[in-house]
């Protein structure tokens, strides 16, 4: 693996000049080293020309470039600062179908005037993925958006770092023209007063600290009052997005040790949300890594039927790992966006070790690779393996899976051991093979509430059942799991 050689001078440029705003231009430059690039260049030409023609895009033209620093000699409207460079050799072993998957969305984004053309490793670490960083969940976002349009509310459940917050942000973008959208991050505002102050501050423009003073007097009144005002002030129905509801329950717990008072505070908060939602036919979307219903039952002995309004009937929707149609191409897109050029053996190694089914750990790993390549300018496949082993040993990207297994398994630690046994058995088989579904059922046969635990296994871990076999959806998870279960000490 090496960094893209952006010092190459000769290349073929696909330039775009916005017909409406002549000042807006973009240049994608395919840098050339020699005769080995001719076929790739021919294929790139065909793919781009076909897509531009098919989509009826205007303003594109090809140019031979001898010196990217002097691209304005080729066309005075073009500037070297607008150039996005690739090496033609990055496309060398790809079919035209694969090149289409890589370049067509890039051309679409140029025409849409987007500044970011490709996802990149460094950009998605530590923040929700937005824009081009948000990897393909088109079918899921469309389906959830249509549920919201039909008046439904729901709870998106998945372990941390699997893309819930990113998905919620995408939904908000999608719905912004039809709905009034309000987002509450309860990890940031983990008490009823802070949550209420945040909503009021968003509504009125009042400073957060001032709003908090009022909310501390009567958080439920401030919260429901602010929500009512938002709904009444807009012709569009409200969709309230709540991230990490359990953080608020924990906030209440740490403030008050008495279970009765905690229960009252929790139900009061939920009621302050539920009443305006019911009165104005608003929707609510909750996302969380921990099943908040299970949490309420275990901590406050509150069943879902005890909860106010919409919360008494909110259905969970598990968020599965990304099931990408073209996993290798998606990985290549990320490499391209990160200026990483795979060399002989790298692509095969990557295909066997990482994928974007769980984007966060994969992106985190590639960010580490990028840092190492920048230091050393080039790393071998063996060095890639060493970085990977260290990553598996140190990463906290999967910590939430351990948390779920050790603390949230439906029927306790006995069932958790059985689930761990199933995961280990799947992990001991080749990724594409997995184990027979019947085998999983046999292992679960001795477990209490076997159907519940079986379903929990599928909802919580990145596994899938296909053609009668259960297998992992993420290579990276399989390697991580194996490293967790390794017996010997090195």
């Amino acid at each position: 693996m090496r960094l893209r050689n952006e010092n190459l001078k000769t290349g073929k440029a696909l330039a775009w000049v916005d017909k409406n705003r002549q000042a807006k231009t973009r240049v994608v430059l395919f840098l050339v080293q020699g005769a080995g690039d001719i076929s790739a260049l021919n294929a790139i030409d065909r793919v781009c020309d076909n897509w531009i023609k098919q989509q009826g895009y205007q303003g594109f033209s090809w140019h031979s470039v001898a010196d990217p620093g002097q691209i304005s000699l080729v066309d005075p409207r073009l500037f070297s600062a607008d150039i996005r460079r690739f090496e033609a050799c990055e496309f060398r072993d790809l079919s035209e179908d694969q090149i289409e998957i890589l370049l067509n969305p890039l051309i679409d984004r140029i025409c849409a005037g987007e500044s970011e053309l490709l996802p990149r490793a460094g950009a998605a670490v530590g923040a929700p993925a937005e824009g081009v960083q948000f990897l393909n969940r088109t079918a899921e976002t469309n389906s959830l958006a249509s549920m919201i349009r039909q008046g439904e509310s729901f709870f998106i459940r998945a372990p941390r770092r699997t893309g819930k917050t990113s998905l919620m942000r995408r939904l908000q973008e999608l719905l912004l023209s039809e709905f009034s959208v309000l987002s509450l991050n309860l990890e940031r505002d983990p008490t009823p007063a802070e949550a209420a102050a945040r909503v009021r501050s968003t509504l009125t423009g009042e400073g957060f600290q001032v709003a908090l003073r009022s909310a501390r007097q009567d958080s439920a009144a401030v919260l429901s009052g602010a929500l009512n005002s938002i709904c009444e002030g807009s012709e569009k129905p409200l969709v309230l997005f709540i991230d990490e509801l359990v953080s608020l329950f924990n906030g209440i717990k740490s403030a008050d040790p008495d279970e009765g008072l905690r229960r009252a505070a929790t139900l009061s908060f939920l009621k302050a949300l539920a009443d305006p939602i019911a009165a104005h036919e608003a929707r609510v979307v909750i996302a969380g890594s921990v099943d908040w219903l299970q949490y309420l039952e275990s901590e406050l002995s509150a069943r879902q039927s005890d909860l106010p309004g919409i919360f008494s009937r909110l259905q969970p929707i598990p968020l599965k790992p990304l099931d990408l149609e073209h996993p290798e191409c998606e990985l290549r897109r990320l490499l391209m966006g990160s200026e990483l050029v795979p060399e002989a053996g790298d692509v095969n190694w990557l295909a066997e070790h990482i994928d974007l089914a769980l984007p966060f750990p994969a992106v985190k790993f590639l960010d580490q690779v990028l840092a190492d390549v920048k230091n050393r300018s080039r790393i071998t496949t063996q060095e890639l393996q060493s970085i990977f082993d260290l990553f598996l040993a140190q990463t906290e990207s999967f910590a939430d899976f351990n948390e779920h297994l050790n603390r949230h398994c439906p029927t306790g630690s006995m069932a958790a051991d059985v689930v761990a046994g199933v995961l280990s058995e799947i992990a001991s088989h080749p990724f594409e093979v997995g184990i027979e579904n019947e085998r999983v059922k046999t292992i679960f046969a001795r477990t209490d509430q076997k159907d519940v635990v079986y379903q929990w296994l599928y909802d919580t871990f990145p596994i899938t059942s296909k053609d009668g076999r259960t297998r992992f959806m993420s290579h990276l998870f399989q390697h991580w799991w194996n490293s967790q279960m390794r017996a010997e000490v090195r």
């Binding site: 290349g11 073929k12 050339v32 080293q33 005769a35 080729v74």
Partner: protein
């Protein structure tokens, strides 16, 4: 008959209208409609050969060789202009292709043109071309020698050449193993004032696709651009050229050659005084 007239006749009589891989004759076959359809077909045919990409790949390989050569300049000279690419006219235009086919064709002989529409892309040596413009006459010699060496040396000596030269030799063939020289052409053999070194390269993977490279000094290029506008283009359009103009423009080429020689002598003298 003017060149335009010859082209009209050529397209009307010899363009394979409606044959496999060729467009149908336009519904209203005016000379302009025929010409435009033929031009569009030629443009697409040239594009489909990928010749432009072959030229780019060759340019990239030569760029490496030139960079190696630039690094060998005396340190004090490295910031000076050693060479630049002329980015214009990488690909021969459909108009020029028609022009060239028509030029070699005698419309009165009732025979097909020597270069046909089915094989012009392999028959023409300069379908794609690019020019390296160097500063001094001795720079041109250095560049040419660096490009010719891999094709003139014995296979055993190849390993002693630079990595850039070896890669060039590995990927491309140089036709006739040398660059044509119209800089040092004797007066009695000269038909125009053009002065440059020319070579035809092909990738080993497709020897039929040829790319012409030209190496000239800045003064030779300056003369070429002026001649193109003042003499070549009007002559191509069939305009009469005054004999005195031809004599004068030819003399300018000789004059600029002498200027190049003088600059080179100055460069050499200054280098010797500096001790490099």
């Amino acid at each position: 008959m003017s060149t335009d007239g010859k082209i009209e006749a050529l397209i009307k009589e010899h363009f394979p209208w409606g044959q496999d891989g060729y467009p149908a004759r336009p519904e209203h076959p005016t000379p302009e409609a025929l010409k435009e359809t033929a031009r569009e077909w030629i443009r697409e045919r040239v594009r489909s050969t990928g010749i432009e990409n072959v030229a780019l790949a060759l340019q990239a390989r030569i760029e490496t060789v030139l960079t190696e050569l630039e690094r060998q300049l005396p340190e004090i000279e490295r910031p000076r202009l050693f060479y630049r690419w002329d980015p214009s006219h990488n690909l021969k235009s459909p108009e020029s292709i028609l022009d060239k086919i028509a030029r070699d064709w005698d419309p009165t002989a009732a025979t097909a043109p020597k270069i046909g529409f089915d094989d012009f892309h392999t028959a023409m040596d300069d379908l794609a071309r690019f020019r390296i413009v160097v500063n001094f006459l001795s720079d041109a010699e250095k560049v040419c020698s660096k490009l010719e060496d891999p094709y003139k040396c014995s296979p055993a000596d190849l390993v002693s050449l630079s990595p850039g030269q070896q890669a060039l030799h590995r990927e491309f063939a140089l036709h006739n193993h040398s660059l044509e020289d119209s800089i040092l052409r004797a007066p009695e053999k000269r038909v125009s004032g053009e002065r440059c070194r020319k070579g035809i390269f092909s990738p080993h993977s497709n020897r039929g696709l040829k790319v012409e490279i030209q190496i000239q000094t800045m003064l030779q290029e300056a003369w070429d651009k002026k001649d193109h506008f003042l003499i070549y283009e009007p002559r191509r359009r069939g305009e009469p050229i005054d004999g005195a103009d031809s004599i004068e423009i030819y003399a300018m080429s000789e004059l600029l050659y002498v200027a190049d020689l003088t600059f080179d002598r100055l460069l050499d003298a200054i280098r010797r005084r500096r001790g490099n």
